[in-house]
Symmetry: C2
Subunit: 403 residues, 2 copies
């Protein structure tokens, strides 16, 4: 019998309980043992819930019970989630989490604590909801040097952009609709401003490059300024505007990491990822491009990802837990300057291609019609791109980073 | 030091060697040991190759060397690949393979032999080339009941269909081009007829439902009869014609498993998977739809998948190997009758929707123009669909299974 505790019985925590209940036989067969939720820590009491007898209000009940080997931290926020996770690891319990804020800010400390105490800290559910991307990068791609990761990491903003594209809505209309349907929070800032996507790309970069970069040092632009004009011009040539988190390791050892709305050309499979779906595109040595697609949020998909971590720990309880990986703490000086690092940029302007060519070294024209040229400039920094655009005298209808 | 042997030094076998050489440091770090290719079994000699000293011609050299713990079977064909794999497992060596023909026909016997001998039989590279789909279904989705799998499982046919769609080529022109570029074999039948996709969907069904159905009992239609008319009508409404392997468990315990060209509507992410790329869409309880996308073939991607299995075995050499899963042998009577089992079918015909409605219970019109109606009939068997089409008196321009 494997006893677990859940910290925080909100959307994800209750999803974990439901996924365990639904898949109980399959889970027991797979881990070759039975599993039981022994405690649920929450401030609330949940009278009438089938789980009401499991509710506790004091973390010490869990910390002091040697039967509890696995703790699911599904609280959200860093306080007291970080402190509780640390205490559990130090008490010899493995911790699995869906809390991207904690992982992105303190993952290195928690991985170290897990290793020092011979237990594990797993975080599959912190990126991509139900998409098994973390485990896949860790295991299946372990032999492949990862060059680059680009992802649609936030379902709320992708829903809004899809509505703007498909139904011609304005940003405000699309946001209101997302809120009505429960896809966006009443206070949607963490999604809209890109903070949520930023935490996730930091976690992916830590996995890929072994160092955790603080989200606070990452250039992050949200979708608030995306207009119907941006979206409808892109649509003319089959492209899409998406909020993309990107990271790659540069030759000089620095890391290019950023979150911003992007022009995604039709040939990139990310351009077709719509609604609340997420997708993560990994470019690796030998393997080439691999993409993972699925529901990036929701109680059951995310609960399912948490459960995959629980099962991973459970399967190893009777043998030896695999060694916890560690992340260096990425110094802010390792993050390249977003403004001056070469990248690709897109613009739609009123000049003909021949009038633009003198200003851009490597220019790819995506679309032209009378009075409109849409193009991507390759290998140019944002600063140089802005400068060249301005020097050309073009009237700019739309201007974005490009994938 | 972990010693491995490679059986068959063709495209995949040499890919394994190259991926090990390229990623050597990363691999050693991950498995916390060094790794060495001790033998390569092939009929040929490869003079001048850096691997020439490792070449052996007698399987007994490998079987009798207790230092060899892991054998990569990358031979292709079932003879002598099956017999050699069995002998290696019985000699206490784990076997990893890219050979879908062996796995699809004898996977149950090989899994049993692995379990009986306390070793493992892994086959990540047998489906989807470099896409880590097998490991993901086994681990990450282990707690989720899998309802349904649909996949583009063959890169050659997908390349041909993409060329027909994008450049208006005929089937024969597109095939000739695929052969020129090395994407299709000189004898392309195993690809074109759907045999390759059929083996792969059998392996996925075995993973999902725990029973191995013989490819010879599966309804399998290739793409030889797909015309430019099929492709260009679908294109009018953003859909695509794809060769799809599908399997799902029906309520009565039988398995619906089939390979055939399908009309894939624009809303299905599989419709955008082009060129030689593969994609596998898994529908699971709790998790919803998850899709994995990447290069389905090629020396390095496939070699990389083989290596992920090698590393999985290597990591566990010092502890306990996870228990080998077993597959029942799926009795042919468990495969539902393709002709009479309800499914979705698509047709493009010359009648207006109102003239068709009396003949179809659940009809979804995808597109109409003067003299053309494209529609999907849901929940209808192929037999009933054909009958209704014929009864309606419609002239049929295109007729396919639909996703």
């Amino acid at each position: 019998m494997i006893n677990i505790a859940i910290l925080g019985f909100g959307k994800v925590g209750s999803g974990v309980a439901e996924v365990i209940s639904r898949g109980y036989n399959l889970i027991c067969k797979e881990i070759q043992d039975s599993i039981r939720i022994k405690y649920i820590l929450d401030l609330r009491d949940f009278p009438g819930s089938p789980y009401q007898d499991l509710i506790v209000h004091d973390i010490n009940t869990i910390l002091e019970d040697p039967e509890v080997k696995i703790v699911c931290e599904t609280m959200g926020g860093t306080k007291p989630a970080f402190e509780y996770s640390m205490a559990c690891l130090r008490a010899g319990k493995s911790v699995v989490t869906s809390n991207k804020e904690v992982v992105a800010n303190f993952g290195n400390l928690l991985c170290d604590a897990a290793r020092d105490n011979g237990v594990r800290y797993l975080y599959e559910a912190s990126v991509g909801g139900g998409i098994p991307v973390i485990r896949t990068i860790k295991n299946a791609l372990a032999a492949n040097e990862i060059y680059e990761i680009n992802g649609i990491l936030n379902g709320t903003t992708n829903y809004i952009l899809t509505q703007m594209d498909r139904n011609g809505k304005s940003f405000d209309e699309a946001l209101a609709q997302a809120q009505e349907l429960g896809y966006a929070e009443r206070d949607p800032r963490a999604d809209i401003n890109g903070d949520d996507a930023c935490r996730k790309i930091c976690i992916l970069a830590a996995l890929a490059f072994g160092m955790l970069i603080s989200p606070s040092t990452v250039s992050c632009v949200g979708i608030r300024d995306i207009t119907q004009t941006d979206v409808s011009i892109a649509k003319k040539f089959g492209a899409a505007v998406k909020l993309v988190g990107s990271t790659k390791r540069l030759a000089d050892g620095t890391v290019d990491i950023r979150v911003s709305p992007c022009l995604v050309p039709a040939t990139n499979p990310i351009s077709k990822v719509d609604d609340v779906y997420n997708a993560i595109l990994v470019r690796a040595a030998s393997l080439g491009d691999v993409m993972f697609y699925g529901q990036g949020a929701g109680s059951l998909p995310t609960g399912s990802a948490v459960l995959s971590d629980i099962m991973d720990v459970a399967k190893h309880l009777k043998t030896v837990q695999p060694t916890q990986e560690t992340w260096e703490c990425g110094d802010p000086s390792l993050v390249c300057d977003e403004e001056t690092t070469p990248c690709q940029y897109y613009a739609a302007v009123d000049l003909a291609p021949c009038k633009l060519e003198p200003y851009f070294d490597s220019m790819e024209v995506l679309y032209t019609e009378d009075g409109l040229t849409a193009f991507i400039a390759h290998g140019v920094s944002r600063k140089s791109f802005e400068f060249a655009l301005s020097a050309s005298g073009a009237k700019v209808f739309s201007k974005l980073r490009a994938l």
